[in-house]
Subunit: 184 residues, 2 copies
Amino acid sequence: MSRSSTGLRDRLLASALTLFVQHGFRGTSLADIASDVDCSKASLLYHFSNKEAILAELLLPVGKELVALDGRLAGLAGEAIPEAAVCGVADLAVRFRQEFKLLFDNMSDAAALPELRLQGVDGIGRRLVVAMAGGSSEPQDEVAALMTLGGMFVTGAADLPLDDETLREALIRTALRTIGRARG
Amino acid sequence: MSRSSTGLRDRLLASALTLFVQHGFRGTSLADIASDVDCSKASLLYHFSNKEAILAELLLPVGKELVALDGRLAGLAGEAIPEAAVCGVADLAVRFRQEFKLLFDNMSDAAALPELRLQGVDGIGRRLVVAMAGGSSEPQDEVAALMTLGGMFVTGAADLPLDDETLREALIRTALRTIGRARG
DNA sequence: GTCAGTTCTGACCGATCGGACAGTTACGGT
DNA sequence: ACCGTAACTGTCCGATCGGTCAGAACTGAC
């Protein structure tokens, strides 16, 4: 990563994101991040009170967007719910590719963050599956919904060489087909 | 987990599997495993030469099955390839639910295992995606294939309260629909 | 210049981890 | 009873980790 003209704090955040994505939160040490941006570990801990604070700051934007999507879904009804859930998740998966992978690969660590807990990120995953399943509790529909949500997570995080528009379109079309609501 | 009448070594393996799945490979210490089966850490290291050896032994069966599936796919042609890939992965995802989650959540650690490396687990993921995409390199087809593979991984690892037959059927039907090869 | 505040750092600390090792117990064959 | 081997354990060690702290270096305001 090396030098840049931006502030040290921003460079530390950017480095932490890529390192966390590559080697996981637990697999990345504070010394790794500091050495990547060529500063001291003490300097890193001057900008962030502790290691968890870095993870929280990286995940906070995605968390807010997920909460917003969850709220939007609660105001809908009928067939609009699954489609809105798919489009909403696809949009986030494209815009926050690395953050999605970070969240996905470090679920247990992220779930322990108080900064995200007092926001309402808790049952969102389950609610998204229910939404994509159209409220059905048939095993067939639940499996399809879970596969759709998981598939979008994985695909968004796969670092495909596709521009945002292409990826989002492909995600939405495939997801709607998977949950059996392909749009003509 | 506590006691049992089976051998200590088997109990250590079983405990390690559940603990690795729950808290990750890095997030589980040798002391955690030893204390879970109520024996000493030294005793654990008598049965397994080191921590990585435990992970390797847990993943070896799945690795072999994946290599076998990969080989079977290489002997097929045409439309049989995507269907065989889907059915093969679905079968493994059902039979090795916990191992799939373990492999998925600890990709980087698992990739570093020499025991699995000198077997051919390397490019299997990419080859499976290509197989499910039917050889197409269209972004649409590649995204659908990646979503299918990722979705099956996630769903198999989700610990759903479904029996093997129901889950496998739901996985296969949904996957074939996702890659656009739904069977009548 | 000097002074205050921000930024940054080297040195250090306690905790935890994976692992090594010598020694002890349990046990089956003779 | 003796002995060799397998199973098991207490204890110790070096490395690494996240985090603290006192102070150096830089900065602009006056």
